[in-house]
Symmetry: C2
Subunit: 328 residues, 2 copies
Amino acid sequence: MAKIKAALLGYGTVGQGVYTALKTHRQRLKGLLGEEVEIVGVLIKDPHKRRDIDSNIFITTEFKDILKIPGLQVIFEAIVGEEPGYTYLRRAIEKGIQVITANKVMFARYGKELLQKGKEYDVSVRYEATTAGGVPIIRTLKQILQVNKIERIQGILNGTSNFILTEMRNNEISFDEALKLAQRNGYAEENPTSDISGKDAFCKTMILSELAFGKQPIWSEVELQGITAITSEQVKQASQRNLKYKHIADIYQENGDLKASVKPILIEESHPLYSVDGVDNAITVEASLLGRFTLIGPGAGKLPTASAMVEDLADIYTVKNRQLQLSI
Amino acid sequence: MAKIKAALLGYGTVGQGVYTALKTHRQRLKGLLGEEVEIVGVLIKDPHKRRDIDSNIFITTEFKDILKIPGLQVIFEAIVGEEPGYTYLRRAIEKGIQVITANKVMFARYGKELLQKGKEYDVSVRYEATTAGGVPIIRTLKQILQVNKIERIQGILNGTSNFILTEMRNNEISFDEALKLAQRNGYAEENPTSDISGKDAFCKTMILSELAFGKQPIWSEVELQGITAITSEQVKQASQRNLKYKHIADIYQENGDLKASVKPILIEESHPLYSVDGVDNAITVEASLLGRFTLIGPGAGKLPTASAMVEDLADIYTVKNRQLQLSI
């Protein structure tokens, strides 16, 4: 039986999640796609680190070796930062390889170029995993809300920040204590800057903006503020008034201009994001026909992010199969 | 330019919503599909009722006249009850007409047959509007969660019941008072039996079950209970313990058996459906990779339901267009 040959770029949390998901869901994928999906190569950084990867899988520190794998059809990119992610994916697309990425920093900057290049080379470029991990907002906006005009998007896009704000409120602790708790629980990295400064949520906001409104606001004009300045006293006072601080990304059009902000705001109980606590992410969409609806799910994590990437894969190949059936 | 010719069966709230949505979103549809969508016929019951329908549109009380419309490609079915809806759609499919339905009572019973017939005749059968109006749960389960194994579904599937329970709690009123309020606000029909008995939610539960688990439980074995027996005293006592009565549909597998119930249960603040109030509907899905995620949106209403039907239409034709591109 033919196999879909895939490679992983990066073997951190997300890379390992994809590896595991493909193993545990092998039969389902085979049933769905009519072919097995096989990881044939993994790009790593440190050749000396011990990894739990099957011995027949090719492991390399050189991307050019990945590209040389005969019959490679799909690349899952799970590395961090604009480069070398962008260059790798550009080259993969030029070789006709389908790409599925979880790299939000890269995609916020270069998503448009990659999608354009994908069209040029008739290659799918999928990025569900870049934004809000286990909340399938990308494909909901792209596939399910095509006729609806999107009017506004509000989201809690960073699980770490949301966890910290939730803990500060529920357990009346300081920002520093909540951050330490997040780190102990594995919800925040040793260097949490990207999460607590709002930078991470900012990248996701730009990706949503491009998709929903066909453009991004000028980056320097987006009001960007993290959660570091919020005191336990402020949280307590808000709580007494039945309000919550939430770190909210907001994108909407005003007089033809696209406006966006990513910052902590005080919201009331009637706000659809009020009940979203802990590491969950959520997105509220206001659409012309449907009205207002909200998606809530795990913000990140090994398997939810892998879920997004593996579902992207399934979508690429089920669409291909439908096309094939018709052209026979 | 070629046009997509469509007919409406029924011109109640939903039918009117589709008519309006196609008008207000004409340009978006044309941009998306490359063709205009035109309502060319409307099936009505009472020929004497005044309706705000363009004079060039064919109006009839006879379904056979609808089927005779030359070049008819799509039927939007928005009538109530198992029959004549089922027979109409069966005949439409046999003529090669794409069908989009909002008729949950019919689809709970005959959905499987219609989908099978659709395959046979290479016709799309779409039913997003049957279940939870503005919550795009059908296509989320069908298109976005293909690899994930669905483990459990819990939902608030009836907006009228949810409104009544919300009002009983928030305003400390009786069931009867809350029902009257729902009727005054247009959220409940003059005969609200189907909503408050749980029958409406039951039909939607069966449709979800078929989709997510490939089968339905035996109907008589499903524990079905409405909200009519809940007293304001019970609601008050629950509220004091920070609990809420919610009318919840629940489907899950246990030792290979499919279990389902549709009944009011007491839930805690940590339950993902706790915050879903008023006429909103919501569905929580537990999936093997993604974990638990929740969709919340308008439960029904003219435009949200029409949104589901018009998005179904767009999906049929964008998939067709993609296939066409490849086969050229």
